[in-house]
Point group: C2
Chain length 206, copies 2
DNA sequence: GTCTATAGAATGATAGAC
DNA sequence: GTCTATCATTCTATAGAC
């Protein structure tokens, strides 16, 4: 390995470590509550190194948010516009539940950001999310006019899908506490997914 | 009005103002992110006055959390153990939606606290919330064995009730943004409430 | 009860040696 | 690329005049 690649490798390694722990710290404390010192400690790096890779705390936060977007948009595609309601919604719910399980911190950062009034991602809400929402509302309205599901309000159905799936990430601590302090195992995640899926599908007459 | 009552009145007035604005600031920024200065500014009081009424930032936070508990427990009682599934759940959902509308900041503080791992209220989760949850699980299980609703997992049904109703408070900013920047009006809140109620009731076969 | 002033610690960010 | 040392600012909390 030549010098340039070694340097690049070290760079990628440090970037990954910092971003990983930044996501956890931002999830725990929000933007204002998180400190560069805490992220540095979690990453086992001096605080100055964080500022070598990210000029400001805000720049680091933006990068963390960006990565969550990417994952989030993947799940959005699971809401296949061509499939039947049962297929589309089952697939979307399962994908979102998987994200809640594998990336709880990302979901928490997103939740924190929205709770705080979305100071950083408000343009994203108004553009990307709004466009996506409008396109899915059209799909749902078509299902309704085709008589494939009950005449529910498409917007509120989407909110229900988001709320129920993200709850398992954002309120993870509460769910774990009420599970006797143990994290949900494979079977319990499957039970949760099936319950959400079954109740919503039956609830809208799909 | 004598001196003692005047003094007490001023005290209650200041306490109310501080607690009201503290709830908003804590909702926006979480415990770590909120500053006494920000709460003082919002309350139009010098920072020192906050420390006259509350010895520490943590003491003020605890008081805010306590008030949220009270409201939250009221809603819990709406889940009448003697009523039919339709009555009990309709009443509970409506009550929780009203709280999301009238006390969004309280819900946000609660959400923030749980997202952060509930450092302050963990004992409450393990005692009061757990006992309440267990008692309602019993009720739901009785509904199931009486054939009044489908054999759903009671625990996950409760999570769905919490998630869907609290979403309108915690993700208020997102809901408003997707509503064209306008807060939901009376009709829209009624539509939201009816949608949640109808989908869940039908979804569990009630 | 209210306020100004300030102590003492922690914060975001930078300089500069290695 | 990494780290120590440090600056300017902001934070929680308090002292003490009114």
């Amino acid at each position: 390995m030549n010098t340039a690649r070694k340097r690049n490798s070290a760079r990628q390694e440090s970037l990954g470590v910092i971003l990983h722990h930044a996501e956890q710290i931002f999830a725990e404390s929000g933007f204002r509550g998180a400190t560069m010192q805490a992220i540095a400690d979690a990453s086992s790096l001096p605080k100055a190194n964080l500022h070598y890779y990210f000029p400001t705390k805000l720049a680091l936060y933006r990068e963390v948010i960006q990565r969550i977007f990417t994952i989030w948009l993947e799940a959005a595609d699971s809401f296949d516009t061509s499939a039947s309601p049962r297929e589309a919604l089952s697939s979307y719910i399962r994908k979102k539940m998987e994200i809640s399980r594998t990336h709880p911190c990302g979901s928490k950062v997103w939740a924190n950001e929205v709770i705080q009034g979305a100071p950083i991602i408000q343009d994203y809400l108004q553009t990307t999310l709004r466009a996506w929402t409008d396109s899915r509302i059209e799909v749902i309205n078509r299902w309704i006019s085709d008589g494939k599901i009950d005449p529910v309000d498409p917007r509120h159905l989407l909110y229900m899908l988001w709320a129920t799936t993200q709850h398992y990430a954002d309120f993870q601590h509460q769910v774990v506490t009420l599970n006797g302090g143990k994290r949900l195992d494979d079977t319990q995640w499957e039970v949760a997914t099936m319950n959400v899926t079954n109740i919503i599908l039956k609830g809208i007459g799909a």
